[in-house]
């Protein structure tokens, strides 16, 4: 790991007189995998949106790949966003136009190709590779709107991946997916990180989504950081009970974490 990919200093986001995110200091190193946990309304999605300039902070600063996001103009922001892929939590409904899955995935290459240039053969090859990798080849010519929630989620993940980003921001990337595809995607994230020195910030509710190589876990509650550190330091029984209430315990298997009802094992 090297210099910080994301640096936050005194960041605060206020909406309707309510502070929805307040992070005093946070640095995500280049090549780091950071898991972000917290109950609903903790500010996890807001944190990711601040990193892409989709939400302007009320005060403080956030630097992404060395650029002060809050001070960038539209052109600077567009350039930065080509290097930072975001997989949003809410599935895009798509429009009335019957865009095919392949066309939707190609949106990830559209910004990178730049204005006045069509997508190249290399762009389309990358699009087809990720469609194949995520098991969507049979559906490539199908309209996006006719796909299931899980298939749409994979299409949007492919869209993020074809961007070949330096930072990958994932907001509940395995929502709507069955266990098989959840495991495939977790394995893919692990591979990407190992091969490409990719920085990953992964927001999730299911601890199973955190890849084995997750370096740090950040816990947010009501917009504030309540804990951060390695998985072993943060994901304690007390913390899980504090976050999700009694009745759940945390298990560790081969570097991965999962939540289970009490009596199902315990920390190992």
């Amino acid at each position: 790991m090297s210099a910080a990919a994301i640096e936050i200093d005194g960041l605060s986001v206020t909406r309707g007189g309510r502070t929805i995110l307040a992070v005093e200091r946070l640095a995500v190193d280049a090549g780091e995998v950071l898991g972000v946990l917290g109950p609903n309304g903790a500010g996890k999605t807001t944190l990711l949106k601040c990193a892409t300039g989709m939400i302007r902070p009320s005060s403080g600063s956030i630097r992404v790949l060395g650029h002060p996001v809050g001070r960038l103009g539209p052109i600077g922001l567009a350039r930065l966003r080509r290097r930072v892929a975001l997989l949003a939590q809410i599935l895009a409904p798509g429009g009335e136009m019957p865009l095919t899955l392949r066309e939707v995935v190609s949106i990830g290459r559209t910004g990178r190709a730049g204005l006045l240039r069509p997508l190249s053969r290399h762009d389309w090859r990358l699009v087809d590779q990720w469609i194949e990798h995520l098991g969507l080849r049979e559906l490539a010519r199908q309209p996006y709107g006719l796909l299931s929630g899980g298939e749409q989620r994979k299409a949007l993940l492919a869209m993020a991946m074809v961007q070949e980003p330096e930072i990958l921001l994932l907001d509940e990337p395995t929502a709507n997916l069955d266990a098989y595809w959840r495991e495939q995607i977790v394995a893919t994230l692990g591979d990407l990180h190992r091969k490409g020195n990719l920085t990953i910030v992964l927001v999730c509710h299911d601890l199973e989504t955190l890849p084995a190589g997750t370096h740090r876990v950040l816990v947010l509650r009501a917009g504030r950081v309540v804990a951060q550190g390695t998985g072993a330091e943060v994901l304690t029984h007390e913390r899980i009970e504090d976050l999700y209430g009694p009745g759940l315990t945390v298990l560790r298997r081969e570097g991965r974490w999962l939540l289970a009802p009490h009596g199902a094992g315990g920390c190992r």
Partner: protein, 281 residues
């Protein structure tokens, strides 16, 4: 049939149908068909006030285009997420404002004792009285639209899916969206002058809806939408010329029938497909 009279009218019908059909592919694709009628009424308001200032004939295009462009850019620059308002709601507010301004202007004609016949024609259009000069203006606006579609094809495809996702992927979504709105205001204003505010709405919506029933993919949908728009214009004019029925009404009915036929064809095709797969099983 008097071909000398009908030739420019038929050409205008084809060009209007194709250019509004192509534009409709985007507008319906983004689920904002209200944009068409909103911008058309802004053009009407501009033309009405232009006429009040003494402008006549083709020169009315200038204030009409200015008003349409200002309203389109206003829509483009306001971020629905920032104002926490759906784009269709914003368009509704702008539409009612523009309609109010247009009718205020029409009311002022009687106050000043001036004839408002010329601007009233804009509401209903005057396609049957279209001449070659009008056709060339329509061709020029259609060419500008086509250039925009070719140059910004991939960006508009991303915006069609979702402006938020396009922007998040580093597409210059606001710039391209604003340019699209300017092109839309040009096409709508030019065609509005000859086909009227009511017919333009059906030519925007119906071919695009029919196309989305028939084909998949952005490029194919846009091409089929433009072709169906041209077919609506030409077919409607042909029937009108042969039967002496009102031109605008016939074009609207033809374009609506195309939607019905497209839905029926899609259902029949799906039924046939499931029948074949049932036999295969």
């Amino acid at each position: 049939m008097d071909w000398l009279f009908w030739a420019p009218v038929m050409c205008a019908g084809v060009v209007t149908g194709a250019s509004t059909g192509l534009l409709g592919g985007y507008i319906v694709g983004m689920r904002i068909p209200f944009l068409g009628i909103c911008v058309a009424h802004a053009a009407l308001a501009g033309a009405v006030f232009g006429a009040l200032c003494g402008l006549t004939g083709p020169s009315l295009l200038v204030p009409a285009l200015a008003a349409a462009s200002i309203s389109a850019v206003a829509v483009g620059l306001v971020d629905p997420q920032t104002v926490r308002m759906d784009l269709n709601v914003m368009l509704g507010i702008l539409f009612s404002l523009m309609m109010g301004l247009a009718f205020l202007g029409l009311g002022l004609f009687s106050v000043y004792g001036v004839s408002d016949n010329e601007v009233r024609n804009l509401l209903w259009g005057s396609l049957a009285f279209c001449r070659w000069r009008d056709v060339w203006i329509m061709v020029a606006s259609a060419a500008a639209e086509l250039i925009f579609v070719v140059v910004f094809y991939k960006e508009m495809r991303a915006i069609l899916f979702s402006r938020t996702h396009a922007a998040a992927a580093g597409v210059h979504a606001t710039l391209v969206w604003t340019l699209f709105l300017l092109v839309a205001s040009l096409v709508l204003t030019v065609n509005f002058q000859t086909v009227g505010g009511l017919m333009i709405y059906s030519l925007l919506a119906n071919p695009a809806v029919a196309a989305s029933q028939l084909v998949r993919g952005c490029g194919r949908t846009l091409v089929v939408s433009a072709a169906l728009g041209a077919a609506s214009g030409l077919g409607g004019l042909w029937i009108s010329a042969a039967t002496d029925l009102p031109t605008g009404a016939v074009i609207v009915i033809v374009s609506s029938l195309l939607v019905v036929l497209a839905i029926a064809w899609k259902r029949a095709w799906k039924r046939g497909e499931s029948h074949v797969s049932g036999e295969g099983a």
